[in-house]
């Protein structure tokens, strides 16, 4: 189980979070009240040049200073504040969510073509593996993840999701199985610009994890979805594959399909499977991945989890259920069910 819904406005118009909250709440049966979360792109225009680091602190006495010392070592904190939350009767506040608008000092990371991203990635891994009681769960520019252990509507009200305006929204209602319902385990999962929501279970996790860890990523969130964010970062950012090729690597066509393709296409697909076989994901999944220029949704190769797409004007919706989409937009231009492994891509113009 788990319910996912996402929307992109391809013209870049902003949408507040009220509708997606209602849509996600419609899928309450897909969750168990132990995890829900939202991600929105374009919500921090005043700090668009800074990396918005969202951090859970177990308390703000012992661990916050350690994290801040690390941030000061690697760059400048332009602004920071406690993320505003509003007490909810059904949601117990466990951690203190804090946000930092951070500018890394590119001069400190040598030998790389993307020093700022590498500093932020380093800090995410460093804090999450070595600072007990602190967890960086959102680290992109002009984006933010808001998540907690609770029902979708309670989590939305806790963060007052309707007060944020973004041109891409991702939302997730969790039915935790592999790990307990804890705040860090709720979706979306994020690294830099990449956010991921996922319904399913990745049976290739052991392979994917060992593959991604050989590139320096460290899996710390005890859940299989985390690895998707890192795989996308590796393939799309570091290896420079576009969205379509990235999805092709993560959920490639079957050999039988490749064998009957025209030679050039077959060569391309064979090369992807040979090179990125360890990045290929197996097991039941429906996933939406976002970055600042759009979203892409796809399922496993035999579609063991539902995924539905719809369009209305500039807006593209991808969700587990059509009813959830219609809660956001009752009159749709087009509704369709993508085939297994076939990506649905919504690019901002």
């Amino acid at each position: 189980m788990c319910g996912i819904i996402s929307v992109v406005d391809r013209a870049g118009n902003l949408m507040d979070g009220s509708k997606i909250k209602r849509a996600l709440s419609l899928m309450d049966e897909r969750g168990s009240g132990e995890g829900a979360g939202y991600a929105a792109y374009g919500i921090y225009p005043e700090y668009a040049d800074c990396y918005a680091l969202h951090i859970f602190f177990d308390n703000i006495v012992e661990t916050k200073s350690v994290v801040e010392a690390l941030l000061r070592t690697w760059g400048t904190v332009v602004h920071d504040e406690e993320i505003p939350t509003y007490e909810q009767p059904n949601l117990k506040k466990i951690h203190t969510p804090w946000r930092y608008f951070f500018k890394p000092d590119a001069a400190l990371m040598s030998g790389t073509s993307s020093p700022e991203e590498d500093i932020v990635t380093y800090l995410v891994m460093k804090v999450n593996t070595t600072v007990p009681g602190a967890l960086i769960y959102s680290s992109g520019k002009n984006i933010g993840v808001f998540k907690a252990a609770g029902w979708p509507e309670d989590v939305a009200d806790f963060y007052r999701i309707q007060d944020y305006e973004g041109y891409i929204w991702l939302a997730h209602n969790r039915y935790p199985t592999n790990t307990k319902g804890w705040w860090g385990g709720a979706h979306p999962f994020n690294l830099l610009d990449w956010s991921v929501i996922h319904n399913g279970e990745i049976t290739s996790y052991g392979t994917n994890r060992r593959y991604i860890e050989s590139f320096g990523y460290k899996c710390t969130m005890f859940t299989d979805t985390e690895v998707v964010a890192y795989l996308v970062d590796l393939l799309a950012r570091r290896h420079g594959l576009d969205k379509e090729m990235t999805v092709r690597a993560l959920a490639p066509p079957f050999w039988d399909e490749i064998d009957v393709m025209p030679e050039k296409e077959a060569t391309l697909n064979r090369a992807i499977r040979l090179t990125y076989g360890s990045a290929m994901m197996n097991g039941p999944f429906a996933i939406v991945v976002a970055n600042h220029d759009g979203i892409v949704g796809f399922t496993d190769r035999i579609k063991l989890r539902p995924l539905i797409a719809a369009e209305k004007g500039d807006r593209l919706y991808i969700s587990s259920e059509e009813a959830a989409i219609r809660r956001m937009e009752p009159e749709l231009d087009r509704v369709w069910m993508p085939r297994a492994g076939e990506p649905v891509i919504g690019r901002v113009y």
Binding site: T177, N178, G200, E201, T203, S204, Y205, G206, T207, R209, R210, Y211, E213, S214, F215, H239, G240, L241, D242, E244, M245, F254, W255, D256, T267, L268, R270, A271, I272, R273, L274, T275, Y276, G277, S278, M280, M281, N282, G283, P284, R301, I302, L304
Partner: protein, 503 residues
């Protein structure tokens, strides 16, 4: 005669009520256990090797073989084997030879690794209804791909891939030379591999013309003796394998006794008739990793960079570092042969005491290659002690791309693992060159058995994958999450990077 005779190992008896004195046991036993005395068959159990040929051929099921109870004084240290080895060496002053794999009663680690199956949260996949992909490519892979978009927006691949071997199953057959085994046996393996869509090794014996029709399924071996190696031989193979070491006898070379070098073997190996074929422990031109890298490149040059080149090493304590060195040569695959690997002949002391288990070796190699960021660029083939489809699955979950089977393929052709291959009298026509014995093996029939075995194991692997919710072999490779260790110590679990059961 201070030592005298030792107790019988096996006792053969004939049920005289059932026996019709047809004499098939006499004809079938090359070890002379049965003989005529007048019109009656008598038995000399002392020469029996428990090869089971007589039992299999007796039309009246009149023959019984029992392991003879040891009548030495029982002792926990001075076992029968320990004492008899000493008696034997005290008499002969020689190294004791043994055939087949390690016979020490050490528990196989494979048996203490348990596989996973899906239940509610992720569905198991039914291989009868859903596609299950066991296709495996062996060879060098790029670490990343480069694309560019053409003018029409179409994707253009810019990275050129090295030649890879395409396998329909991750199960290959390891190297067994013509000489060590009969031509009929090698022919059966070659036909079987062809039918199963996989490959087998020539061993270090060259390639006999009878094998040419199956050359596209052959991996030609270059061992230290360089027997049968010329450019024609290299070009015939689908891939080339440099043999540095062998799991049954790490650190030593091979020796095919002159008696086995018949005219045909001498032609195929390009050595004089009746001469001992000795392949020394080191290659005469490889004394360092640089020398090895040079030979890899030389073989690639000779074959115009069209063939993958494998390097086979025995699983030894430092195997991971050695494999990392090989990965940095131009080699396309590293074959790691564990201490349970079989052989035609090895000094018993090596076979039973040198090397390490394949499970630990594969795990260590995979880990080391990953830590150095080169795992993806080279294939790893595990061999030595693969006894069933679960072992294949576990080896892949520990990090292998594919496995070699050896003894299992021989067993599919009738071998009873009697361990007397080095004597050249194999009653099943496998490890022998004696024409009357070789003729006992029908290549057509045995090829089918070999292909059947590979098909059956392949189906079992796909069922095991389906149960674990995995539909492509890539997602099983190195997937330690799908394994749990049962009754393994903490140190070994760490080496295997596997959690204990229940964790």
């Amino acid at each position: 005669m201070a030592i005298g005779s030792v107790p019988l190992r096996y006792r053969i008896s004939i049920d005289r009520d059932r026996c019709m004195e047809c004499g098939r046991c006499v004809e079938n036993c090359p070890y002379g256990t049965f003989r005529w005395e007048g019109d009656r068959i008598v038995v000399d159990s002392r020469t029996c090797t428990a090869c089971h040929r007589c039992i299999a051929m007796c039309p009246r099921d009149a023959i019984t073989l029992t392991e003879h109870p040891c009548d030495y004084r029982t002792h926990p240290v001075w076992t029968r084997d320990a004492r008899e080895s000493i008696y034997n060496q005290a008499k002969t002053g020689k190294i004791i030879l043994a055939g087949m794999g390690n016979a020490s009663p050490l528990p196989p680690i494979f048996d203490r690794l348990l596989l996973d199956a899906c239940q509610v949260t992720n569905p198991s996949i039914d291989p009868l209804r859903e596609p299950m992909e066991l296709r495996t490519y062996i060879g060098k892979k790029p670490s990343r791909l480069s694309f560019k978009r053409g003018e029409g927006g179409e994707v253009e691949l810019q990275t050129e891939l090295s030649p890879n071997l395409k396998l329909d199953t991750p199960i290959m057959i390891g190297h067994m030379s013509y000489g060590a085994i009969s031509l009929n046996a090698q022919l059966a393996l070659a036909k079987g591999a062809h039918e199963a869509g996989t490959f087998l090794g020539t061993g270090e014996g060259g390639m006999h013309p009878a094998i040419f029709p199956y050359q596209d399924n052959m991996i030609v071996q270059v061992a230290s003796g360089r027997f049968g190696v010329d450019v024609d031989y290299l070009n015939r193979g689908a891939a080339i394998e440099i043999k540095i070491g062998q799991g049954a006898k790490p650190g030593i070379g091979g020796h095919l006794p002159g008696e086995k070098v018949c005219a045909d073997v001498s032609c195929t190996r390009m050595i004089p008739l009746g001469s001992d074929a000795i392949s020394p422990a080191p290659h005469h031109d490889i004394y360092s990793i640089e020398d090895l890298a040079q030979l890899v490149r030389s073989l690639k040059e000779a074959t115009e960079w069209k063939k993958p080149v494998f390097v086979k090493i025995a699983a030894v304590h430092n195997v991971a570092a050695i494999a990392a060195g090989i990965a940095r040569s131009s080699a396309d695959a590293v074959v790691v042969d564990g201490f349970r690997g079989g052989t035609g002949a090895a000094p018993k002391v090596f076979r039973d005491h040198v090397g390490i288990p394949i499970e630990a070796a594969v795990s260590a190699v995979d880990q080391k290659l990953r830590s150095q960021g080169v795992r993806n660029e080279i294939s790893v083939i595990a061999s030595g002690g693969i006894t069933n489809a679960a072992d294949v699955t576990k080896a892949i979950a520990l990090g292998a791309d594919a496995v070699y089977i050896g003894t299992a393929a021989l067993v599919a052709m009738g071998c009873r693992v009697c361990g007397n291959c080095y004597r050249g009298l194999c009653p099943w026509g496998i490890a022998t060159q004696r024409p009357d014995l070789v003729a006992r093996l029908n290549p057509e029939v045995q090829a089918e058995h070999v292909a059947n075995l590979i098909h059956a194991w392949t189906m079992e692997v796909s069922e095991l994958m389906g149960a674990a919710g995995i539909n492509a072999i890539e997602s099983l490779r190195g997937n330690r999450d799908r394994l749990r260790g049962y009754m393994l110590d903490e140190g070994l679990l760490k080496v295997l990077d596997v959690k204990p059961v229940g964790a």
